[in-house]
Symmetry: C2
Subunit: 123 residues, 2 copies
């Protein structure tokens, strides 16, 4: 199995690139029991999660990851904590955010997102 820190880095790069290019494509990273809490609103399951992400009130979005920390989690999972900046549409001032993911092995050599919590950070 790949090193958890390498997987965390690869996952995070892929996730935010995909989010910023076409966030509806993120469905493949979630399963039916995955959970997203976005600004304290929670939804369960890949279809509801992608519906939530697609409904967010911005079109153009760019994530800039500032820091990334990862730990091994139970049952070969990986826990990730990201802090970063988010630039949406014509806004010139980025918003700070933090996001934690728990990845679990999918049994086919890759990982899916079981837990996903996103929160804006106001200074």
């Amino acid at each position: 199995m790949a090193n958890f820190a390498d997987v965390a880095k690869q996952f995070t790069d892929f996730y935010y690139n995909q989010f910023d290019a076409d966030r509806k494509q993120l469905a493949a990273l979630y399963r039916e029991n995955s959970m997203l809490t976005f600004e304290s609103a929670s939804v369960i399951g890949a279809p509801s999660i992608v519906e939530k992400l697609a409904s967010l009130p911005f079109e153009k979005v760019k994530h800039a990851v500032g820091t990334l920390d990862a730990q091994p989690a139970p049952h070969d999972g990986i826990l990730i904590l990201v802090t970063g900046a988010l630039l949406v549409d014509a806004e010139e001032r980025p918003m700070n955010y933090t996001q934690t993911f728990q990845l679990l092995p999918d049994g086919a050599g890759s990982f899916f997102i079981f837990n996903d919590i996103f929160k804006l950070v106001y200074g």
Copy 2:
């Protein structure tokens, strides 16, 4: 079993009260395979974690939790994402931080910390 959101709230209140009163007492919340990543430096096991916490370069510390989100995690665990402000010693300006915990059941009706990642957030 208590509701995961209630446990998350009770845990977070207890953790930061204990941290601010006497952080060496936090040892009881960790186990030998628990992991702390504090500002990207990682240690494993309750003794090393408490040694790390005790060695932090401040005496007086006060956490103010701003937001708390929780999700059910695999195997009856609970994943928590906190954002808040930290005031240390004679500093008058609080620092923003984010912290994620993964709690696991201890088999005796309570929970211990398996994963703990702390990160300051710079605006």
